[in-house]
Symmetry: D2
Subunit: 261 residues, 4 copies
């Protein structure tokens, strides 16, 4: 069974700030957003978590193993170094979608994302490590079969991107609806999903759905771990297995085989 701790990271009152006193230079906003994401990726990533940029003013992180004190340090550090502040909502559930429901409610309960007086909220429930199994996080790493050969080296970049984008839109809705899994485009032709426990058939059905829906062939490697990083690195190795063996769904082998097997 999976147990996922999710954190919603929301820039406080960001929309109004971007046009006050008048609209700010777009490339400065892009720089601010992407550097804030990068900083959070370093903070959370070096503690074993994953964060996804999503809409940039709202980011979603898998934070198993990262406690309230670390969240508070991140929030303080952002406030010290940026012209904006962040609020953090955290929750734990079996499925990622349910955890995000809870995390989002923590912030919504505190006020609107565009409420000037609602800043630097830190609210939520944190995982008790004693209550989870040894591999509570499941990460599935998808990519497109031969994206460079079929798209990047053949089409103009925007048309390549349209194909990748279509596959992402199709997969994100399918995984969300069918399984409560959350899928994120992470650049190139890569999609990373945080998932509940799913079978090989369930993953194959997802690939089949995308192929029949938008005509793009994906493959997927799945890993499990104590943290998103552990699960994610295992998923990447499993995806490499797909590449070498020409398969479409591979689960990572347990990293430490039982000694008596």
């Amino acid at each position: 069974m999976t147990t996922t701790q999710l954190t919603l990271i929301q820039i406080d009152n960001y929309g109004p700030w971007t046009v006050t006193p008048e609209p700010r230079r777009e490339m400065d906003l892009q720089t601010l957003q992407s550097r804030l994401f990068a900083d959070i990726a370093q903070f959370i990533g070096s503690r074993g978590g994953y964060v996804f940029y999503t809409r940039f003013d709202n980011m979603i992180a898998v934070t198993n193993g990262i406690d309230r004190a670390a969240h508070a340090t991140l929030q303080e550090s952002v406030g010290n170094r940026y012209p904006v502040t962040i609020s953090l909502g955290v929750d734990v559930a079996e499925t990622p979608a349910a955890a995000l429901d809870g995390a989002t409610e923590r912030l919504q309960d505190a006020g609107s994302a565009q409420d000037k007086s609602r800043t630097e909220v830190l609210a939520g429930t944190f995982l008790d490590p004693a209550t989870t199994g040894s591999e509570p996080v499941h990460i599935a790493h998808f990519d497109v079969n031969d994206a460079t050969g079929k798209y990047t080296d053949q089409l103009n970049e925007f048309d390549s991107f349209i194909h990748i984008e279509r596959s992402y839109a199709s997969l994100m809705e399918y995984m969300r609806t069918a399984h409560g899994g959350l899928s994120f485009f992470v650049g190139g032709d890569n999609i990373i999903a945080v998932c509940p426990e799913l079978s090989t058939d369930a993953y194959q059905d997802a690939l089949d759905h995308v192929e029949s829906d938008v005509g793009v062939d994906l493959k997927v490697g799945i890993g499990r771990g104590q943290t998103a990083h552990e699960a994610g690195i295992a998923a990447k190795h499993a995806l490499e297995d797909c590449r070498y063996e020409g398969t479409t769904v591979e689960f990572a082998q347990p990293s430490v085989p039982a000694s008596d097997d």
Copy 2:
């Protein structure tokens, strides 16, 4: 008539690098990608251009007013500071899509994106400022009507994102197919499109298409300028006009009215 100079920025041989000698930490890759984008946004943005992260390993920039020497400096500087290098293809055309076709071909002609020996290509045609009119770049800035009230403050963040993502997928394909315009999601509920000359009706048709296709209500401000920044700032002001006046399509007023009008 529009005249758009587009630059395709491609990280050389990036896919293989991310898994050599074995898969690298995902959060380090995310950090690298988003910081590289931020650096390019500063370089190009401070010279009046716009760049969009697209797939991160391939980025698309509007570079009217930025010459070959500046492109070479950017390429050298990235090579000095990152573990990866970039190739740049540049072209000029009336429609953005045609310019990107040419820019992409410059790189494809030089070799595959995953060809180890094809690095730091700088190839293309640069705009001759003498040959363009005074406002060769058109930028349309779209956003979602009341996204905070309808989505951010109501749904969990992923479900909000699904609605935004749907509207983006619908708009990007429509503008590409109908007009050769290139649309980019830039965070929050914002989409920026680089467009050819289009009428109010053409923009309204785009909004109507997205509404009937995926049920999301957009509005749009359009600006024109010598550079993407000039056109984009004008577009942002026009979008503010939509907000204040409750309209859905607004063109920016000319910033300097002709003296004999």
Copy 3:
């Protein structure tokens, strides 16, 4: 008694890299160096440590509370994101200078700083938290009395800097020789020193030395803590006490007073 864990961070074979295949743009080197320092400051700082840029190609960190696994993660992450790699030497001693002796020897024993084959060394002794007292780190935060009024608002910036620099050169040598303390200029008119246990008189003697040596008046706040951050924040508060009370040496009050006082 103090127990300081120091880490020497050395960019591997950096000098030769900066001129290969020919000298690189100085501003790119400055950017690389200062961003690497910033990243390390975030990594170490968010874990309670302090790092000082020193010569930039060699940085010195106070790392009480940061274990070998965290050092390994930092080293891996830098290697994933920069065109250079780092080696780390770590040691523990009562005085900071003795700890740095040990940390430096770990790297020197592994080869020259300009040995191409000596890369990503991680060697040293880490603190056993069980063996230290509750406040093993002592931080002294010095600044110049009325630097803005006397220098910044009166002299040209370089001549202001000369005065600050003189005070730093004088203090760094005095603290090193007299006490085995390590002092670092951290910008503005601020110097932070990692020190062994020292009396009020010892600090006053240091201030008197600098005044008679180079004619610059300093004051100092001293804090103690489990980590550099705890000690350093306490030192900053103590320095604020100097400001409000017009004194020159202040020790931080214990943050948690004994219950029977």
Copy 4:
């Protein structure tokens, strides 16, 4: 004859900000300072200028070739992305020290560095490119003979740093007093000086002074150019010449020999 345009970059009211409402985490301040410097280094460096971090809250830049509009863009961009703002004073003179005098006065005339209402000043005189010769900027790049062999591989890092620091303190005062030149430590064992026109003997005297004053052996390469970057790259090549030929003072050869030679 040299003609140097210098820009003083000052963070507005920074000291008070760092302790309001209470002292901020030192590593966040270090991160903020060094990233701001890095951003300015990219902005100015990609336009042919040089910037030095000096005290971080005050930075000094050589900005020949960078006009008022570019300075305004830099100032706006920093204001959009940081929690602090910057003021810029600019002046032009034959000697660097005289130019800095003028640049500093522009800011001092506008108010104190810690005046809350004095923010985002942009004041000064910019170079008219038509009035300068072809190589108005002279850059001297010094380093320590065999610093790795004598210091880095022999002493602990702080003691190595003390020797480098001594040589810098000695050289900075000598060049300032004797010639109105401004010298900056740039990391490792490197010092870069912005100088007026000086002879080989004058440079040799500077080296001799440092040797007799603090016992450190330096060498120097000198370059001239239209911009700091051009002069600085030439100086680096000249310093490489010193290395290969075992000499102590080398001037860069003209990059484009006269056609009739």
